[in-house]
């Protein structure tokens, strides 16, 4: 190739590279932002893949180095992290970035076993960003390794002053108190950690040791059990997170982690995990479903509604989502919305008794006893003849004047569950109100009391006695109900009527006592 041709080619390359520069400037900023998101989501490798080319292109990019070093640090690739972060300090970063870089480097050198370098970095961090608790924390860790307990203690205290919720710093303060054979002080610190981080196993080990030091074997054993339990949970999550290193987006692993959090009732961690699953997989129906359920459990109904609505958006036929949403709406007294969803669920699955249950509850809540009765009748028709349903059905039939059918429902309920006082009580009430078969009513009322001598049962017994003109016994029974519920207006009224009858010398509800 001739010299001219080479010069033309070179010129072309320079021009092209300039074009590339101008073209890549924007993607770099964009990639930096995406990489930060990846780091926040724990997808460190993806972040590294985005950040490396930026540094290759511009080795003086402070923020790219900062985030790449952080991504390496979080993957425990400490040597690479140090090599990436160290040059930042020569690139005139802001005080904040310099301080945070010192903090990262202090932690990294501790992990690499280079305590002197770590001490330099931690000291520089404290000077640069004294407001950041982690700077003091790492300084404390180094002092602790160097057996300088007082300095370590002071550094950890500084960390907790900056961040009162800094569990690891409190834990170290507890450990120092243990080393100084001050178990009571140690208990205070470890308990603080346990309160701050209820799923952290570490404070329970400290508490166990502190109680052993104080010869309190019972509490020591209690914390030993708690430690074992939480450690097992932590280890399982940790193992799964290790698997994630190789397959960072494997939904099966992500789900198993979320399920573990849920199993141990660490609901905030479970929510966070399901949210992580949904970032790359917004179409994941099980994730929305679980998220909705957990929000329900935490009482965050608005978030639960959003989760279930997202699920319904993906799949218009998730019956369970309809039911759960309708339950939330019922709790929120948004009965129309609840009713609509339940009717839709019934439309999709006409035999879904749970939907009828929900609907019946809504009807009851809005005071529509007739619709509620019809719905329960439908539930029974569909074969759901449990004792509770039959009792509810009996009550509604009774209120609706269908006494015989009500009695039949209560009798069936008794056959299914003989230990439930309610059907006995209701039968007694029906008979006494109809002034029929008062002896039988008395037997039922007594059986109800035998099964559960509660206020309602005593009141029913009082009613039967009153009906039988046994005013003394009626008064005694209602008094017993009032012992349990002294302010119940119905019982007070009942007592008043009995006392009035006694005073007037008249009988109870009825003078005659017809027999069966």
């Amino acid at each position: 190739m001739g010299r001219l041709a080479r010069q033309i080619l070179l010129l072309y390359l320079v021009i092209s590279s300039a074009d590339v520069d101008s073209l890549t400037a924007q993607p770099e900023t964009y990639n930096l932002s995406i990489a930060t998101d990846h780091i926040q989501n724990g997808s460190y490798r993806l972040a590294v893949d985005l950040l490396r080319p930026i540094i290759n292109h511009d080795p003086s990019s402070i923020m790219a180095r900062y985030h790449l070093g952080n991504a390496y640090r979080l993957q425990r690739l400490y040597y690479q992290a140090a090599k990436t972060l160290e040059p930042i300090l020569g690139l005139k970063p802001t005080d904040r970035v310099a301080g945070e870089t010192h903090i990262f480097l202090a932690e990294i050198y501790i992990q690499l076993g280079q305590l002197n370098l770590a001490l330099n970095q931690a000291t520089a961090a404290v000077a640069k960003v004294p407001e950041i608790a982690e700077a003091h924390f790492h300084l404390g860790k180094i002092y602790l390794k160097q057996k300088k307990l007082d300095l370590a203690n002071s550094a950890f205290k500084q960390a907790t002053i900056r961040n009162p919720d800094f569990a690891d710093a409190c834990q170290e303060l507890g450990n120092i108190a243990l080393l100084q054979a001050r178990p009571i002080l140690a208990v205070g610190f470890f308990q603080q950690v346990a309160d701050l981080a209820p799923f952290n196993y570490r404070p329970h080990l400290g508490l166990m040791k502190a109680y052993r030091l104080s010869n309190n074997q019972t509490l020591a054993e209690k914390h030993q059990i708690r430690f074992r339990d939480l450690k097992k949970y932590f280890d399982q999550v940790y193992d799964l997170e290790l698997e994630l290193k190789d397959r960072p987006t494997d939904p099966q692993i992500l789900f198993r982690i979320a399920e573990l959090h849920y199993k141990y009732q660490n609901l905030s961690a479970a929510i966070e995990q399901y949210q992580k699953i949904l970032i790359p997989n917004p179409q994941s129906e099980p994730a929305w479903d679980q998220l909705g359920r957990i929000y329900m459990q935490t009482g965050d109904f608005e978030s639960a509604i959003k989760a279930f609505e997202s699920l319904i958006g993906l799949n218009p036929e998730p019956l369970e989502a309809y039911l759960r949403l309708s339950w939330i709406y019922t709790q929120q007294q948004r009965f129309d919305l609840a009713k609509q969803l339940l009717q839709k669920a019934i439309q999709l699955s006409p035999d879904l008794t749970l939907a009828y249950h929900g609907l019946a509850e809504v009807h009851l809540a809005v005071g529509d006893a007739a619709q509620a009765l019809a719905t329960y009748e439908r539930i029974v028709e569909l074969g759901d003849r449990g004792p509770d349903i039959l009792i509810m059905l009996g009550q509604l039939r009774s209120e609706n004047g269908r006494t015989n059918q009500a009695l039949s429902a209560f009798q069936e309920a008794i056959k299914l569950r003989q230990t439930d006082p309610r059907p006995y009580r209701h039968i007694a009430q029906i008979y006494v109100q109809a002034n029929l078969y008062l002896d039988t009513a008395l037997k039922y009322a007594k059986q109800a009391v035998k099964l559960n001598p509660g206020a309602a049962e005593m009141s029913t017994l009082a009613l039967v006695h009153f009906g039988q003109n046994q005013l003394q016994m009626a008064e005694s029974s209602i008094q017993q109900a009032l012992v349990q519920e002294p302010n119940n207006p119905d019982y007070l009224q009942q007592l008043h009527e009995i006392q009035q009858a006694k005073a007037s010398g008249k009988g109870g509800l009825h003078q005659d006592n017809p027999t069966e």
Partner: protein, 569 residues
């Protein structure tokens, strides 16, 4: 500073003479030597490497597969024991072996038995003794399991273990099958002790992992082929063999409660009566698993109580890579303390026994944390190297990854071994020295004993794929000492488990007779006490495993005494 030149004895002198008898001959030599040697160098040689002059020509081999097979990194151990009952310590060195299909062209090099000639040299008696096992050797324990007056040997292997019965005529017989001590797992550290105090030595074997070469996995770290970590393979169950008293053993692992915790990757082992209730307890250092403390209930059962005793996890509740471990009463309070060697950046651990079944982790305040932070430790032991009456710590180091520097440029495969001097106030200080302490190798195991009978404890260190180092103690006998050899009558013949209390005007010390442990090693069964400047031993109390207590009064210093059960003064 005076440079001590120690004296040696000839093989013809079967019993060691008290040191004071040599004094008139040694003083002129000492003076001459000290004139010609620069004092600064002289002062710094605490342990001198004498492997070559001692004619130890053993070189360890892990089988040379070149594949980084999982079982290679553990290395192999060694034993100091007097197999021929001639009063001095002989040396057994264990070797690896080729592992087909890899290295099948390599001739297996057997374990080697070296007889101490009594003049600071050894001769190879492997063939005569029949101890040249060519399996993949790992660790060992010694003790007179058949109470016939000579010391037997148990060998753990990657593959079937071997029990060698000492025939009393300078030969050993493999009695593994007839004695029923077949541990098919990958055994590591092991130890003999009479756990039921019935007069016969039982056997505990720590097992590592359920691994076969055919199932070897290639592990990678940042795309570099490395040795796999312990959890690449499931853990194997440790084994407990009860001595039936008739030359046979029964595997009572299950019925004695050793299956109560889930199996862990066992490497290190140490025994002691840590709770002073008269029976031997067991501590196992597990690799990246919680460590075990099996408390002997004295009724033929054991309970694992490490967590509640505070010796299971580190202070942050994390299980560490426990390698070697040792019990020892470093503060002379009559309660044995505990130390464990761990992985690099984990620090070794020192636990102080507070009584009432509870240990406090005092690693930081003892000064051990910072000084062991950058080392990967293995064999470890409390012993009094300078005979000042306070037990010091020696730990051998070396990385598990031959290519670690590719991953972490500031971490090295070969590392120095560490000696920590007990300052007598609960703190330890690192002792630096030239020669033996300056070596940087890939060490694994260390066996301790006064092989030259000069009144201080020497060490043999085994190294991975390298020659061992016989480290002769050059300074210990500047202070006074006493040594005891125990012979049990109602108790086991070796006297293993006997607790010896030595009272001098300024100090009371305690030690137990122990066999095997730490990491793959067996130490001198004789018990050595440093006495500092004490001129007289006021009292010695021996508590035998049988429960019998013997006493001796007003003993002379710098002597070895034979303590026979029942022979009270």
């Amino acid at each position: 500073m005076v440079c001590i030149k120690t004296t040696r004895q000839n093989k013809s002198e079967l019993r060691p003479l008290p040191l004071w008898k040599w004094l008139p001959f040694t003083i002129p030599i000492l003076v001459v030597v000290s004139i010609f040697l620069p004092p600064n160098i002289c002062a710094k040689v605490i342990f001198k490497s004498v492997t070559i002059p001692a004619q130890i020509d053993f070189v360890h081999s892990d089988g040379q597969s070149g594949q980084r097979l999982f079982n290679e990194f553990v290395g192999s151990g060694a034993a100091f024991f007097d197999y021929d009952n001639d009063g001095d310590l002989d040396l057994y060195l264990i070797n690896g072996a080729p592992q087909p299909p890899f290295g099948s062209e390599i001739t297996p090099k057997p374990n080697r038995m070296y007889q101490n000639l009594g003049n600071s040299t050894f001769t190879d008696v492997t063939q005569i003794t029949n101890l040249g096992h060519t399996g993949y050797g790992v660790g060992c324990a010694v003790g007179d399991y058949d109470n016939d007056g000579d010391t037997d040997l148990y060998l753990t292997n990657f593959g079937p273990d071997v029990l060698y019965q000492n025939q009393g005529d300078g030969t050993f017989l493999n009695v593994t099958v007839s004695a029923n001590t077949n541990n098919a797992s990958w055994g590591t550290s092991c130890a003999f002790a009479d756990f039921e105090n019935d007069g016969f030595l039982d056997l505990y074997i720590a097992n590592y992992a359920d691994y076969e070469v055919a199932r070897d996995r290639q592990c990678r770290n940042r795309d570099i082929h490395v040795y796999c970590g312990p959890h690449a393979y499931p853990a194997a169950i440790d084994r407990f063999f009860h001595n039936n008293g008739n030359g046979t053993f029964s595997d009572l692992t299950d019925s004695y409660g050793f299956l109560q915790p889930p199996p862990c990757h066992g490497l290190g082992l140490t025994l002691a009566d840590y709770d002073n209730d008269g029976d031997s307890d067991i501590y196992v250092a597990n690799d990246q698993d919680p460590n075990f403390l099996f408390q002997n209930r004295g009724d033929g059962s054991f309970e694992e109580i490490a967590l509640l005793a505070g010796v299971s996890y580190n202070d942050m509740g994390k299980e560490e890579a426990g390698m070697g471990t040792a019990f020892g009463d470093y503060d002379n309070d009559g309660q044995v303390d505990l130390t464990v060697s761990n992985f690099q950046t984990e620090t070794n651990t020192v636990y102080h026994n507070r009584g009432n079944n509870f240990f406090m982790d005092l690693t930081i305040t003892t000064g051990i944390a910072e000084k062991t932070y950058n080392y990967l430790g293995w064999g470890i032991k409390f012993f009094d190297y300078d005979n000042d009456g306070w037990k010091d710590i020696f730990v051998v180091n070396g990385h598990v990854m031959d290519n670690i520097t590719e991953l972490e440029p500031n971490v090295f495969y070969s590392q120095q071994n560490l000696l920590f001097r007990n300052l007598g106030d609960g703190k330890f200080d690192r002792v630096q020295g030239q020669d033996g302490l300056a070596l940087k190798k890939v060490s694994r195991s260390a066996a301790f004993g006064d092989y030259d009978n000069d009144g201080d404890v020497d060490i043999v260190v085994t190294n991975w794929n390298q020659s061992p180092d016989l480290l002769q103690n050059e300074i210990g006998n500047q202070n006074n000492w006493v040594r005891f050899r125990t012979v049990g009558r109602d108790s086991n013949r070796s006297g293993i488990g006997a607790k010896i209390k030595v009272v001098t005007p300024d100090l009371t010390q305690y030690q137990e007779v122990r066999s095997g442990g730490s990491y793959l090693a067996a130490n001198d069964l004789r018990v050595h006490f440093g006495l500092g400047q004490a001129e007289i031993i006021q009292q010695v109390e021996i508590r035998w495993p049988s429960g019998r207590v013997d006493h001796r009064q007003q003993l002379l210093i710098n002597q070895e005494y034979l303590l026979v059960e029942g022979d009270s003064q």
